[in-house]
Symmetry: none
Subunit: 157 residues, 2 copies
């Protein structure tokens, strides 16, 4: 019944309309801001809230002359739901090395990760690699890395 009620939704729909036709959109932030009569930083808000990796978008940008913001749509993989439930149920906002290793190991056993891929992740979240004095900080950081990596693996590219 009702259309979009705020300008952020309008901008979101505009960009997604383009992405329905093309692989990616490349904009000049101030152009879009002018077009919808909003301040430039609102474009960042729209992107941060509506074009996340969880939703299947990858965003790249460059400042300076000829700068741009590029939004790319990426496709969900078959394993996406496995990774998704793992993320919401198991990882949380803190995870110790033992539990994290078990997750990666099971993903390897299930064929979601190749051996080299698993080894890369294990190296990245190893406690000696992170080398953080505080155990809680270490576990929080490990959770963030795991979430970032597994979210990325939900998509192809």
């Amino acid at each position: 019944m009702e259309g979009p009620t705020n300008i952020s939704d309008v901008i979101e729909k505009y960009l997604k309309g383009i992405l329905a036709e093309a692989e990616q959109v490349e904009i000049r932030r101030s152009d879009i801001a002018d077009q919808f009569n909003v301040v430039p930083s609102q474009i960042n808000y729209v992107i941060k809230t509506r074009f996340t990796i969880q939703n299947g978008y990858i965003v790249e940008s460059k400042r300076g002359g000829g700068g741009y913001i590029r939004i790319e749509k990426v496709n969900l993989l078959a394993d996406a739901d496995v990774l998704d439930s793992l993320l919401t149920d198991v990882v949380g906002d803190s995870i110790n090395q033992h539990d994290a290793f078990a997750i990666i190991n099971s993903l390897f056993n299930d064929g979601v990760l190749k051996e080299r891929e698993a080894n890369i992740i294990l190296a990245a979240i190893d406690k000696d690699t992170l080398n953080v004095a505080d155990r809680d900080v270490e576990n929080t950081l490990r959770a963030r890395i795991l979430i970032g990596v597994l979210n990325r693996l939900r998509f192809e590219d």
Copy 2:
């Protein structure tokens, strides 16, 4: 969408186009500057920002009559010494996201990393993933993860 709208990107692409065909490219700075209608020092800027060792290039030059700038592509897979010095000198104990991304991209281009492997590493060292308040701490952590991961891959082979 559109191509680059800044002249530095255009010059970069021109030079990389030549390097796609040849082992190296040798230019006279003022020729290229004239060709693209920029001041000569902009050629130095393009080289300094886009043909660094972390991008996989080595640059040599000579001044005076018959002077030149020569850009050579190095293969990090073939040249273990270059990779070594790159990790020691460029990564060291701190590295920002921009430089780290350039290194991973080079390793992918040279066949050291597969695309999925590169994406995993990029996700792990992304500043939003690490989400550390202090920039120095973030860069230190990124360096440890990068070195930890690459060393793990190295022992594999």
